[in-house]
């Protein structure tokens, strides 16, 4: 029992960063843009958040500036893929290369010569349910985790399905011609979606450096962005189902950490455990992805004939 509760607690914690990024990617793809800049944007957000927090001494300012950097990354993606109509694979991978390189370069400049990796005091864990069994442990989370699960996910869902803006986002990813003919500016909607996406991706990255680790390392994101893309497909571009996917990934990740920590004498190398979450993601994708209903206009730059 105790094992399960602590596993669930860790699951929520691990899932937060990937969920933020996946919700962002959901918006980008719903609007018809595959944003492969996700990995770079997370990495950049992780660095900017850490650096600004270190500089100003305020974690919140660090987070805010990280989100801002993600918004700028989103605008850059929009400039290439929407306005200039560059192939989305090329512009997205280009963005990831650019932002990863930039973050590593700045990190070297600022923290280059040290022998120990720099660290900051991370966000504290809240424990609002002191004294209540199970909930006490389960509720011991970062404020950002609470915000992500209780505010951002429902808000993202409501915005997508119950507002005029969400209707336009869904329409623009399926049939931009229809949106254009209805007198709505296709580019404007795609820009807004990419701005939201960039901000959430960077927030997901910053969560790693500002809360989960309290440090910045080269491997801090380690493919979470790519996993987020898989989770969006697994979740059929629906914020709640994407959340479910993030929990499965987070759960497997937390499980493998515990399996490693148990120090079992097994005839397999411990790296097998490390690979487990990614294997589960692939398996989930293969099962759910067979019937995936991709937004029809995904990958297609919109041009009036």
């Amino acid at each position: 029992m105790e094992f399960i509760v602590s596993l669930l607690t860790a699951t929520l914690r691990v899932a937060t960063s990937i969920l933020l990024a996946a919700i962002g990617e959901t918006y980008a793809e719903r609007a018809g843009v595959l944003n492969l800049g996700i990995e770079g944007t997370m990495f950049f957000g992780a660095f900017v958040g850490f650096y600004v927090a270190d500089l100003t001494g305020s974690l919140w300012i660090g987070l805010a500036v990280a989100v801002l950097s993600g918004i700028i990354a989103g605008l850059l993606m929009a400039l290439f893929s929407v306005t200039l109509g560059v192939n989305q694979h090329v512009s997205g991978l280009g963005l990831t290369l650019l932002l990863s390189g930039l973050a590593l370069f700045a990190f070297r400049l600022k923290y280059g010569g040290r022998s120990t990796p720099p660290s900051i005091e991370p966000f504290p864990l809240l424990s609002p349910f002191r004294g209540i069994p199970i909930l006490e442990t389960l509720g011991e989370q970062y404020l950002l985790t609470y915000i992500t699960f209780l505010v951002i996910v429902p808000l993202a869902w409501w915005l997508l399905y119950h507002t005029d803006f969400g209707l336009k986002v869904r329409a623009v990813g399926e049939n931009p011609e229809a949106v254009d003919a209805a007198g709505v500016d296709v580019y404007r909607i795609r820009y807004l979606a990419l701005v939201i996406a960039g901000g959430l991706m960077a927030a997901g990255g910053a969560f790693l450096s500002l809360a989960q680790l309290g440090a910045f390392t080269h491997g801090i994101v380690s493919g979470r962005g790519w996993v987020a893309i898989a989770l969006v497909i697994f979740g059929n571009w629906d914020p709640f189902k994407v959340t479910l996917g993030s929990l499965i990934f987070g759960g497997t990740f937390a499980l493998q950490l515990r399996l490693q920590a148990m120090g079992l004498q097994l005839p397999i190398p411990y790296e097998t455990f490390l690979a487990l979450p990614y294997l589960v993601t692939i398996a989930a994708l293969v099962i759910a992805g067979r019937n995936a209903a991709y937004p029809a206009a995904l990958l297609k730059p919109y041009r009036r004939e």
């Binding site: 507002t163 005029d164 254009d180 007198g183």
Partner: protein
């Protein structure tokens, strides 16, 4: 009172002049046809009026006031609505969501409120439709109703319809016309883009004829007739190729026995289809697009494997044979999509040799001279306007189709599968293709003609089979078939005894 006036509209695309100083005007409350062949500039002119293109020259007035229309948003604000040929609908959204898209008040999307509003508008305009249904589940006729409703919901006083009957059954066309007449009485002005003369005569008050980007004339429908309009439209007196002799039907060449197949999504597309094609006949397949015609052609050319049933070629079981095997057995297929059948980057000569490359191999290398000589022969024989070394993608649609015909027919196949062979071609090229199909029949080949154009089916076929939702719902000898009877069968409303 003129509600729309367009003066001296010119639009160029690179070297092509799509509209050349076109004048057009629309009276309040009239139905006005814009008549012309494919490529005459009808759609371009209307896309300019709706703000999808900007004119290079010219002036637009709405109710006497000069206006600039930069985007559909401006046109909508001026009370202009357009139903484009490819519907501007989002299949994953509901009818109500599609209707209010871009026209919703406030930030919230109150599903219940918009459903009520859209239902109320549908009642008011007599366009009954369930607002809660996903558009992807609607028939083509229903989608068109959603498009019209969408325009009227935005307070359109001028409605542009681009080839609205192209995808409808004759019965759906009647329903559309009834709706338009009623809306006309309520003061709506309609611009009706078409190339079908019968429709012009049936529904419109005035006609403007376009040819090669120029406005040829505007006349009252009541004071003209189909022949006069056709002359203005094509600039010559031609009336199509028809079959003149009756069939000298020979022995059966190709037989389908209870063939079923699924489409790309795994849904049933063909249901126990049994057909026989004889030597010396044209068997026409009539039907509204998307009822299994595409899959039928693919099964017959070996591109799609049937899930049950047998395919016999001259008595030999060829079920599941590859395209190459069917080819060798004498089944020739004219590709349905011209661009799919041609490699645009390769030369005309290479494209002509593609299906029979082994013939041109000498000592393990391609014999370029033989390929060029072969191309020269076909170019002359099929009157193709191209040189052997031209890249295929530079050819016009008509010449591309001739290239494909040349490639297939030069091998004298016993059976010719011709899915939509004249789609998108102008009258000259259409006549040519039809005469070639008739020539194959004279030669003793069996021809399967799949077409959505009923006039074409009636003009060429010796027997006509109607396909509806993947089933052959009847086979009629040509002399017993007429538009009305076929129309009812195409809509699934009637069946005939199926004689294989």
């Amino acid at each position: 009172m003129k509600i729309i006036e367009m003066r001296g509209i010119t639009k160029r695309f690179a070297s092509l002049v799509a509209n050349d100083h076109v004048d057009f005007d629309l009276e309040r409350g009239e139905i006005h046809a814009l008549l012309g062949e494919n490529g005459a500039g009808k759609t371009t002119l209307m896309r300019i009026l709706y703000g999808l293109y900007r004119p290079d020259e010219g002036e637009i007035r709405v109710e006497g006031r000069p206006v600039t229309i930069h985007a559909p948003k401006d046109a909508i604000a001026l009370g202009i609505g357009m139903v484009t040929q490819h519907f501007a609908l989002v299949p994953t959204l509901t009818v109500a969501e599609n209707v209010v898209l871009g026209f919703n008040e406030g930030f919230r999307l109150d599903r219940q409120r918009i459903a009520e509003e859209v239902a109320e508008a549908a009642r008011r305009f007599g366009l009954e439709i369930d607002p809660a249904v996903q558009v992807g589940h609607l028939s083509v006729g229903q989608r068109q109703r959603v498009e019209i409703l969408k325009a009227l919901y935005r307070h359109a006083r001028v409605l542009i319809l681009d080839e609205p009957t192209a995808v409808l059954t004759p019965q759906e066309v009647e329903a559309l016309f009834a709706t338009l007449r009623r809306l006309q009485h309520e003061g709506l002005s309609v611009i009706f883009i078409t190339h079908k003369l019968a429709e012009v005569m049936a529904i419109t008050d005035r006609v403007t004829v376009l040819r090669d980007g120029k406005a040829i004339a505007t006349v009252r429908t009541a004071s003209t007739n189909e022949e006069a309009l056709a002359r203005m439209m094509v600039g010559r007196e031609s009336f199509g190729v028809r079959r003149e002799t009756s069939a000298r039907r020979g022995e059966p060449l190709l037989r389908m026995e209870g063939i079923s197949a699924v489409d790309d999504r795994g849904l049933p597309a063909l249901k126990r289809v049994s057909l026989t094609i004889h030597s010396g006949e044209i068997l026409g397949i009539a039907g509204v697009g998307g009822n299994g015609q595409h899959e039928l052609a693919e099964v017959l050319s070996g591109l799609r494997r049937p899930t049950e049933g047998r395919l016999l070629v001259e008595g030999r079981d060829m079920t599941g044979a590859s395209p190459a095997e069917l080819n060798a057995a004498g089944v020739g297929r004219i590709p349905e999509d011209r661009h799919e059948g041609i490699v645009g980057e390769l030369s005309v000569a290479d494209n002509m040799a593609l299906e029979t490359l082994p013939r041109f191999v000498k000592k393990g290398r391609l014999d370029r001279q033989a390929i060029i000589a072969h191309a020269r022969r076909l170019i002359e024989q099929f009157q193709i306007k191209a040189r052997p070394t031209d890249r295929a993608k530079t050819l016009s649609g008509g010449n591309m189709q001739k290239l494909l015909l040349a490639r297939v027919l030069s091998r004298k196949p016993k059976v010719v599968i011709a899915p939509q062979p004249t789609r998108g071609l102008d009258i000259g090229a259409t006549d040519y293709v039809r005469s070639q199909l008739l020539a194959q029949r004279e030669r003793g080949a069996g021809v399967l003609l799949i077409s959505e154009d009923l006039d074409e089916i009636l003009a060429l076929s010796d027997r006509i089979a109607v396909i509806y939702e993947g089933e052959i719902v009847g086979i009629l000898p040509a002399q017993e078939a007429d538009v009305e009877r076929l129309g009812l069968m195409m809509a699934g409303a009637a069946r005939e005894e199926v004689l294989p």
